[in-house]
Amino acid sequence: MAKIELTRIPFIKNALKSRYPQLAVFIVMLIGYIFAILAGLIGTPVGSHNFSIVFVWIAWWAILILVAVPFFGRGWCAVCPIPLPGEWLQHGAVLSPPDKRPKWLNLRVPKMFRNIWLQNISYLLLALFSSVLLTTPNITGIVLAAMLFAAIGLSTVFERRAFCRYLCPVGGFIGLYSQTAPIELRIKDKQVCVTCEGKPCYNGSSAGYGCPWDVFPGGLTKNTYCGLCMECIRTCPHDNIAVNLRPFSADLAKPSTRMDEAFKAFIMLGSAIVYAGVLLGPWGMFKDAAYNVGSSAWFIYAIVFLAIIFVVLPGLFTLGILNTKNTLPLKQRFASLSTALIPLGLMFWVAFSLSFVLTNASYILAALSDPLGLGWNLFGTANAAWQPMLTSILAPAQTLALVVGLVWSARTAQKSANEAGTSSMPVVIYCFVATSLMLWLLL
């Protein structure tokens, strides 16, 4: 399938190249983010009526997982407010680079941390405490503030967006799943880059900053680490950067061989399954264990959770691909075949989130009118009653999402198996079993 270059359309190109539209969105997002922190800290402790919980974990999550990631990849990162204050400090400006840049430490992140293991860990930490985090405004407020300050801190110590690249708990999976999105930012012509002097897209110029995400746009082959910040569109003197509409999951044709990314796929797949079981399943015991953070039941829950993610799922997967005759070392086969789990995991999350979001979406109206639970009624919707939405299409939509995920992952498996020169059968069976399990948990 052909790609369509969106940046050919002058309106889109200008909107992306100009700093003002993005800045306007940034300011609104930052205000919303800080308001969410305040609401979490001083608003009502009843999560379902507090702006921080309702807007972050219901509204934002819904937009992120159902729209932004599947269709725009790292589109959220393009407008995310978390790294902004740090980045502005680092740049010494909010628009184009100033004549005099402030002198921060600007260190390079040590090699051992230049992978997404820290993100895997930060995600798991939040995941293990999620039952409390997702329902307690105070804790949500504190975590949001901590992310903001961590991003500021890292910006002053390290160069570029160290927080986004190596620590952000959501950045990791957005990156992983952004490979499936039908949007990409790439160079138009490799030859132009080869001869390009100074590579301002990476090193910066008076027109803009060097890639804040520490990638060289000229070498981009997948979406994972490009934050769609659009700096390179502004800095490239040869107009060699394009934003393209492309077929879904184009990046997955070239499987990754990195273990951190492979495990990210297992972490996301496993946590979707565990959440579906604990939050939507009929077992009150599991739910209690997940909610009683710190109790011995919770420790068992945490251990089981981690075991599923790090032992059971990858273990079964390894067993499955053990016998495929192949010249590639097992580790590499493991990493590249696990690519199939990326669309599968994404669709698991879509299916799980559908029920979570539709059940709770009606809180959004009430929280909009009375964000702090102080008895306001800004838009006259403060007393909107809680009511699950679209209950009749929930089950069919979830089933559809899971089936699409299965077909999609099977096709991906076929491609990556071809690439690795083995059979895709074990992986397809694995995906089928996982999907059946998920279907059973959800319905």
């Binding site: 930052l30 205000i31 609401a39 009502t44 009843v46 009526h49 502005w88 702090l372 102080l374 008895g375």
Partner: protein, 325 residues
């Protein structure tokens, strides 16, 4: 610095100040009374000042489950307080004094601990002389055992007692009724030609004639709202919290936090004739008024009016006697 950069920075700073300042400002200006389950703090604040003749506007919110709000000894409908929502209540006080407000929803095991006070200052229009409750003037020991040594074989029937009672030597004064237990009245009929069963029926009729259907209905409603959570809808001591109370009592024997739960015990079974037929209305009044001192039975003196307590005692005896419908 370029103009655009400067304006952007101003916008950002103003935006951040607004995002922080606006919520803080409005939050500081909205004094809310928070309701939480007693184990998480109960009412906050739990002491409220008011003045006679000045309407008191209060805003309530619940931080956890549905609670209710009512002020004791005041003629008011209880108001529900919903989690995350704000409920406005306006109160008017005619008399100075210390009023007790309390939760009217069975929010949890310690529901009845959810109380606070409203201190109303000002001058009184008609000073009412304080009366001593009957159980005090009778010098009853509320904690002494009072079981009836003899009990009837079934529920005594007031209707059968009616015909017998007319020519019996029973003191018809309310004073006599309130200060004697059914068993004592039964005993006083020893020298009549009646059988034991007939004597109990006569007692049942005597009890019925000392109450009204209105009082019973009122008692029933108070009971359902305030007592049934522990004592059970049908008086058998098996309300929804009964098991938890027993457990809390057992746990307190073994734990350091025993002070709070001290001696929590199973709620009294009002269908037990031994216990109930040996208790006079005055004794029950005293128990309700004073509470069970750590057993889990709250003190209701600050909440119910005297009439309400008599209504309740009248209703509680209906678990023992078959009244005419």
């Amino acid at each position: 610095m370029k103009r655009a950069e400067l304006i952007s920075r101003i916008l950002i700073v103003v935006g951040i100040l607004l995002a922080v300042g606006a919520p803080l400002f409005f939050w500081a200006r909205t004094p809310l009374i928070h309701a939480r389950m007693a184990e998480d703090g109960g009412w906050n604040p739990d002491v409220i000042q008011a003045e006679v003749g000045k309407p008191l506007h209060l805003k309530f919110t619940s931080d956890d489950v549905v609670h209710g709000f009512a002020v004791g000894q005041m003629d008011m409908q209880s108001v529900d307080i919903l989690p995350g929502k704000v409920t406005d209540i306006t109160l008017n006080f005619d008399e100075p004094g210390i009023y007790t407000f309390f939760c009217t929803r069975w929010c949890g095991l310690n529901h009845w601990r959810m109380r606070g006070t409203i201190e109303v200052s000002g001058s009184s229009s008609d000073p009412e002389p304080a009366t001593v409750p009957l159980y005090v003037s009778l010098k009853l020991d509320l904690d002494a055992p009072h079981d009836a040594p003899v009990v009837p074989n079934g529920k005594p029937l007031a209707i059968s007692g009616q015909s017998l009672e007319t020519n019996l030597p029973i003191d018809q004064s309310a004073e006599y009724y309130r200060s004697h237990s059914p068993y004592e009245v039964f005993e006083s009929l020893q020298n009549t030609p009646l059988t034991d069963g007939q004597r109990w029926n006569a007692v049942a009729y005597f009890w019925q004639s000392n109450t009204t259907s209105e009082s019973l209905a009122n008692g029933r409603q108070l009971y359902a709202q305030n007592c049934a959570a522990c004592h059970g809808e049908n008086g058998a001591g098996n309300g929804v919290f009964a098991d938890d109370l027993v457990q809390a009592g057992e746990a307190s024997m073994q734990s350091m936090s025993g002070a709070m739960n001290m001696m929590m015990q199973a709620p009294v079974d009002f269908t037990d004739p031994r216990r109930m037929l040996g208790a006079s209305p005055a004794l029950l009044q005293g128990k309700i008024l004073r509470g069970g001192m750590g057993t889990g039975m709250p003190m209701w003196g600050s909440i119910f009016t005297e009439q309400q307590i008599w209504d309740l005692t009248a209703y509680i005896y209906s678990f023992q006697f078959e009244y005419e419908k």
